[in-house]
C-alpha cells in the first residue's frame, strides 16, 4: 500500500524558534496553509516561554502581540478568563490560525448570513479545541465565535493572522446584522499598551 506523502515539518523547540521558522516560511511568495498549521500544532506549549505575553483582564479576553512578522503576519497570544468569549466575527480576507496553549476553547462555526438577513444565524458546527491543537479558518470557510466555556480554568491561545488586519465585522447572532470594529492590542511585545480609547473593542 502506498504511504501517504508527509510534509516534513521542523518541530520548533521553543516559541522563539517557532517565530523564526514562521519568518522564513512567510518570506517566500507562496505559503502553504497545511504547513503553517502543522508547524503551529507541533510546537509544544511551554508556559515559561510565553508567560510574559499572557496578560489577563478581569472583564474580557485580551489580545497580546508577540511578533509582527515583518508585515507579513501578526502573531499574538489571547488570554481568556473563565466564561470569556468573543462575538461572532469574520477575518477580513485573511488566514487565521488558532492554537491552544493552555486550557480549552470552544469554536462555533456559523454560516454567512443572507444578504438582507433578518433571522437567526445558522450554526454550522462546534467543537472544543484541546491543548496544542491548532485550528484554521478564513472567510470562505465561514464565521466563528470562540469562547472559554470553563467556569474554573483560564485559557490561553496563540493566533497567527496573515495578512495582518486591524478591523473586522462582528455579527449579531439573532439577526445577522454586522458591525465593523477596530481591533486593539492589550499589550505589545510583553508591554502593556496604554488604553487610548475604550470605544471600539476587539471581537
Amino acid at each position: 500500500m502506498e504511504q501517504p506523502v508527509q510534509t516534513e515539518v521542523w518541530k520548533p523547540q521553543n516559541l522563539e524558534e517557532l517565530v523564526r521558522i514562521l519568518h522564513r516560511i512567510f518570506a517566500e511568495d507562496k505559503v502553504s496553509v497545511e504547513e503553517v498549521q502543522e508547524l503551529m500544532e507541533s510546537y509544544e506549549s511551554n508556559p515559561e516561554e510565553w508567560l510574559q505575553y499572557a496578560k489577563f483582564d478581569q472583564y474580557r479576553y485580551t489580545r497580546n502581540l508577540v511578533d509582527n512578522g515583518n508585515g507579513k503576519f501578526n502573531l499574538m497570544i489571547l488570554c481568556w478568563g473563565e466564561g470569556h468569549g468573543s462575538s461572532i466575527h469574520d477575518h477580513t480576507d485573511s488566514h487565521c490560525f488558532m492554537k491552544i496553549l493552555q486550557g480549552n476553547l470552544k469554536e462555533t462555526l456559523f454560516q454567512w448570513p443572507e444578504k438582507k438577513g433578518n433571522g437567526e444565524m445558522t450554526k454550522k458546527s462546534e467543537r472544543v479545541l484541546r491543548d496544542n491543537q491548532c485550528a484554521y479558518i478564513n472567510d470562505s470557510i465561514g464565521l466563528h465565535r470562540v469562547e472559554n466555556i470553563s467556569h474554573t480554568e483560564t485559557a490561553v491561545s496563540l493566533h497567527l493572522y496573515s495578512p495582518p488586519f486591524d478591523s473586522c465585522n462582528t455579527f449579531d447572532q439573532r439577526t445577522g446584522h454586522k458591525h465593523k470594529v477596530k481591533m486593539t492590542f492589550y499589550s505589545e511585545f510583553g508591554e502593556r499598551t496604554v488604553c487610548v480609547s475604550m470605544r471600539e473593542r476587539a471581537p
Binding site: Y59, G83, S150, T152, T170, H179, R201
Partner: protein
C-alpha cells in the same frame, strides 16, 4: 489540611489547595491573619461543614480578599462565608447552586462575583445592595428575569448573562452608566412585539384612587377610613415620564424594543399604568402614535448610544 498550619506558616498570604480532593476546609485556616487569597477550586467541597465555623469572626475572616470555590459541589452559598466583610472577589462558578441568598448583600466589599455555570433560576434584588460590585457573572444558569433593582449597581462594568432563559430585560438596565461589557447571547430574547395577556384590569378601589390622585381631589384623614388613607399613600407614579398617571396594584407589563441605531434591538420591559400608556396619555397631549414612539426612543437615545458600544462587542 494539617492542624499546625497557622503555627508553621503564620505569614501565609496565598494558599492554593485546588484539585486536591478536599471535602472540607477546616478550622486550621482560621488563625492565618495574613491570608488574603484562598483558592480551593475543583475539590469535593459542598456538604455541611465545608467551611469552618466562625469564619467571619476569625482573623482569616478579616484578611480574606479573594476566595475561589469554583468547580465544587455547593448546592447553596455557604452561610459561613457571608460574614467575610473584607471579601473582594468570590467565585462559585461550576457548582450546583439553585439560588442566591438575599444575605449576599452582607459581603459589603465585594467587587467581583462569579456565579456562572450553576442552576440559578432567579436573582434576589438584594444583590443590588453590593455597593462596589463591578463584575457580575451569571452566565450558564436558568435565569428567567432580571430584577430592575440591579440597575442600582452603579459601579457595574461587566455583566455576563449569556446562556440563560431571559426573554426580555428591565428597561432600567439602560441606567447602568459604567457598563462596558454585557453578554446576552443564548437567551430566548423576544424579537417581535409581545402583547401582554395577563393584564388584570384595575379594581374599582384602584380606579377611584387613581382619580383622586390625578385630579388632586382634596381629602383629609378625617374624611376616610384609615386603611384607605394608607392605600392612597401607596400610589406609584407611572414610569412613563410623559404620563402624569399613577397606579396602585394594577400595572401593565409591556415590552418595548429599544433600537440601537438600527443595529441591535433589545426587548425592554416597561411597567405602565395602563395599556393606553404606551403613548402619552390622550389627556396630556395630542401626539400621534408614531410621534410618541420616536419621543420615547429619544428619551432612551442617550443611553442607547452608550449601550450600543457595549452590546455590539
Amino acid at each position: 489540611l494539617p492542624a499546625g498550619l497557622s503555627q508553621w506558616f503564620p505569614a501565609l498570604e496565598v494558599l492554593d489547595v485546588s484539585g486536591t480532593g478536599l471535602a472540607e476546609l477546616g478550622a486550621e485556616l482560621l488563625a492565618l491573619p495574613h491570608l488574603h487569597t484562598l483558592l480551593a477550586k475543583n475539590n469535593r467541597l459542598g456538604g455541611p461543614g465545608s467551611l469552618p465555623k466562625g469564619l467571619g469572626q476569625a482573623p482569616l475572616g478579616r484578611s480574606l480578599r479573594v476566595l475561589n470555590l469554583s468547580g465544587n459541589r455547593f448546592a447553596e452559598v455557604p452561610p459561613a462565608l457571608l460574614g467575610l466583610r473584607a471579601l473582594q472577589s468570590l467565585s462559585l462558578g461550576g457548582n450546583r447552586l439553585h439560588g442566591i441568598p438575599p444575605d449576599i448583600q452582607e459581603l459589603r466589599s465585594l467587587e467581583f462575583l462569579y456565579l456562572g455555570g450553576n442552576f440559578i433560576t432567579s436573582i434576589p434584588p438584594e444583590l443590588a445592595n453590593l455597593p462596589s460590585l463591578s463584575y457580575l457573572v451569571l452566565c450558564d444558569n436558568k435565569i428567567q428575569s432580571i430584577p430592575p433593582q440591579l440597575a442600582q449597581l452603579h459601579s457595574l462594568r461587566s455583566l455576563s448573562l449569556h446562556n440563560n432563559l431571559l426573554t426580555y430585560l428591565p428597561r432600567e438596565i439602560l441606567n447602568l452608566v459604567h457598563l462596558e461589557e454585557l453578554s446576552l447571547r443564548g437567551n430566548p430574547l423576544v424579537v417581535r412585539f409581545v402583547r401582554d395577556l395577563t393584564y388584570n384590569p384595575p379594581s374599582l378601589q384602584e380606579l377611584a384612587g387613581r382619580t383622586i390622585k390625578t385630579r388632586n381631589v382634596p381629602y383629609a384623614p378625617s374624611d376616610l377610613p384609615e386603611n384607605l388613607v394608607r392605600y392612597l399613600s401607596l400610589a406609584s407614579n407611572c414610569p412613563n415620564p410623559k404620563c402624569g398617571g399613577v397606579y396602585f396594584d394594577s400595572c401593565v407589563r409591556q415590552i418595548k424594543f429599544v433600537d440601537f441605531c438600527g443595529k441591535y434591538r433589545l426587548p425592554l420591559m416597561h411597567y405602565l399604568c395602563s395599556p393606553e400608556c404606551s403613548s402619552p396619555c390622550s389627556s396630556a397631549s395630542q401626539s400621534s402614535t408614531s410621534q410618541s414612539e420616536s419621543d420615547s426612543e429619544d428619551e432612551a437615545s442617550v443611553a442607547a448610544r452608550r449601550m450600543q458600544k457595549v452590546l455590539l462587542g
